[in-house]
């Protein structure tokens, strides 16, 4: 078959694939049009934002930040040992390698929302199950990146220091740590950004913070508070992104 006819076929297949998704998701343009009215209504009821609720929002906002902070810090602490085991060039044994790879794959594959639901069942409502969920999910997300970092590490300095007669611990702290630490911290900061966004969603399943507050406000039809919450959320996320990007630039 000629190349151009193959291309046409691929294009048709692509269009067909997208077409079936329209059917499956039950997409109806007409409802989007008639729905505009409803949306305008919500926006009208949500404005102006309720600035008087700001003092009450401060605490949930802090909760959201701290859920992300706890999740990131605990995630890093737990991810490092798994990453060492899961890096082909430094793992002490094949079974441990497979075990660590398995843990990393499992904690990655199960979304943080599911982990939050599990932990809410286990320890009850509030910010703590959210923080636990992010910690566990971060093991998988960070563990894989850390392991790749270790596998790609330039071993030249390690060999050189070993040959100067330095001990194993000294080689680790003087060659491995300075080589890896900046990239490791960069990845951790990036993870904090992602965890902050996740921690908002986790609130909707009862794991505290701004998300939980937003769910409550929506259920009580307090749309002006909802819009205030959205503004605070926006500022938090953008602020955290700017700060962590700045810190990453500083370390590069």
């Amino acid at each position: 078959m000629r190349r151009s006819s193959l291309l046409t076929l691929a294009l048709l297949a692509g269009i067909g694939l997208f077409g079936q998704s329209l059917w499956v998701v039950d997409a109806r343009l007409s409802e989007l049009v008639t729905g505009v009215h409803g949306m305008a209504d919500i926006i009208a009821r949500a404005s102006p934002p309720d600035f008087s609720s700001l003092p009450d929002i401060a605490w949930p906002a802090l909760e959201t930040l701290d859920i992300a902070l706890f999740g990131t810090v605990c995630g890093v602490i737990m991810a490092v040992p798994f990453a060492v085991l899961a890096a082909r060039n430094v793992t002490p044994s094949r079974p441990l390698y497979l075990f660590a790879r398995g843990i990393i794959a499992l904690t990655r594959a199960v979304p943080d929302l599911i982990w939050a639901l599990l932990f809410v069942t286990a320890v009850g409502l509030g910010p703590f199950p959210g923080a636990l969920a992010l910690s566990v999910h971060s093991i998988g997300m960070l563990g894989r990146l850390f392991a790749e970092l270790i596998e790609d590490m330039d071993m030249g300095a390690v060999e050189a220091l070993t040959l100067t007669g330095a001990g194993r611990t000294q080689v680790f702290t003087h060659a491995v740590v300075p080589t890896l630490l900046p990239s490791l911290l960069g990845i951790a900061l990036y993870r904090f950004d992602e965890n902050l966004r996740s921690s908002l969603v986790l609130g909707f399943v009862g794991a505290g913070g701004l998300g939980f507050r937003m769910l409550t406000a929506m259920n009580l039809f307090q749309y002006r508070e909802v819009s205030m919450l959205l503004i605070v959320t926006f500022l938090l996320v953008v602020g955290a992104e700017q700060i962590s990007a700045g810190l990453r630039r500083l370390m590069a």
């Binding site: 300095a157 070993t162 040959l163 100067t164």
Partner: protein
């Protein structure tokens, strides 16, 4: 020089890799204090295997290596560490910790002498930082002490690596193609530095090279290695053009 004590003696060193490849077939050599010995040979002649066997990065199959008259075969981990301290190693690439500054890189050469709690935490002994300044002066890079090692040129990085080796206070310097990735000017600088360390500081220097012209210009003695065997061992002016051709497997014109 001939009367100087032999710092390094290699006797009947052989290495057969598990895949059956024979890299070394009974190599004998000796390097004395104050002597700069160059090993010449084409790729696969066993040069790197020889150097790496001396410090037991590779375990030789047969033969022995004596550093300061002491055999390094069968040493335990702690004794091997001690033996390696007396023997500085320089690589083709400088193998510095690129993100640390030059001074810290030099001072890490002395870690083996300071097995303290602080050094295990990543701190460098203060007295070694002062000593490192001295070694940087010796390689002419004292102005770069606070720069990140990764920002230096290849030739400068190699000089930092030499300063790091000096921080070990070695009596023997081994160099594995130290100028292979440098431009001709930097290559001559490195060779001149090694020459000076041998002549003025009395170090025994053994270096693998690919450039016969540098060997002729700087070496006290040249060892030609071909297919894992020593085929030449003598003064550089005694090496003939056919011998160089043989080492590098070129057809004689």
């Amino acid at each position: 020089m001939a009367g100087n004590p032999a710092r390094l003696v290699v006797r009947g060193l052989a290495k057969r890799y598990p895949n059956g490849r024979v890299a070394l077939k009974g190599v004998d050599l000796c390097v004395r204090d104050g002597e700069l010995v160059v090993i010449l040979g084409s790729n696969g002649s066993g040069k790197s295997t020889l150097l790496r066997s001396i410090v037991r990065l590779i375990e030789p199959t047969e033969g022995e290596v004596l550093i300061d008259g002491r055999s390094i075969a069968g040493l335990g981990a702690e004794e091997l560490r001690q033996a390696r301290m007396a023997c500085g190693m320089i690589f083709q690439h400088a193998n510095l910790v690129r993100r640390r500054n030059v001074l810290a890189n030099v001072a890490t050469g002395a870690l083996g002498r300071h097995r303290t709690f602080g050094s295990a935490l990543g701190l460098l002994p203060r007295c070694e930082l002062e000593a490192a300044h001295g070694f940087l002066k010796e390689v002419g890079l004292v102005d770069f002490a606070q720069q990140r090692a990764g920002t230096l040129s290849g030739g400068q990085q190699q000089r930092v690596a030499i300063a790091r080796a000096l921080a070990q206070r070695p009596r023997l310097l081994l160099a594995d193609e130290p100028v292979a990735s440098l431009d001709p000017e930097s290559a001559r600088e490195i060779m001149a530095l090694l020459r000076r360390l041998a002549t003025e500081d009395g170090l025994a220097v053994l270096t693998v090279l690919h450039q016969p012209d540098l060997a002729l210009a700087y070496a006290d003695r040249v060892i030609g290695l071909k297919d894992g065997e020593v085929v030449f061992d003598g003064k550089p002016d005694a090496i003939s053009v056919p011998m160089v051709d043989l080492l590098y497997q070129r057809q004689a014109a």
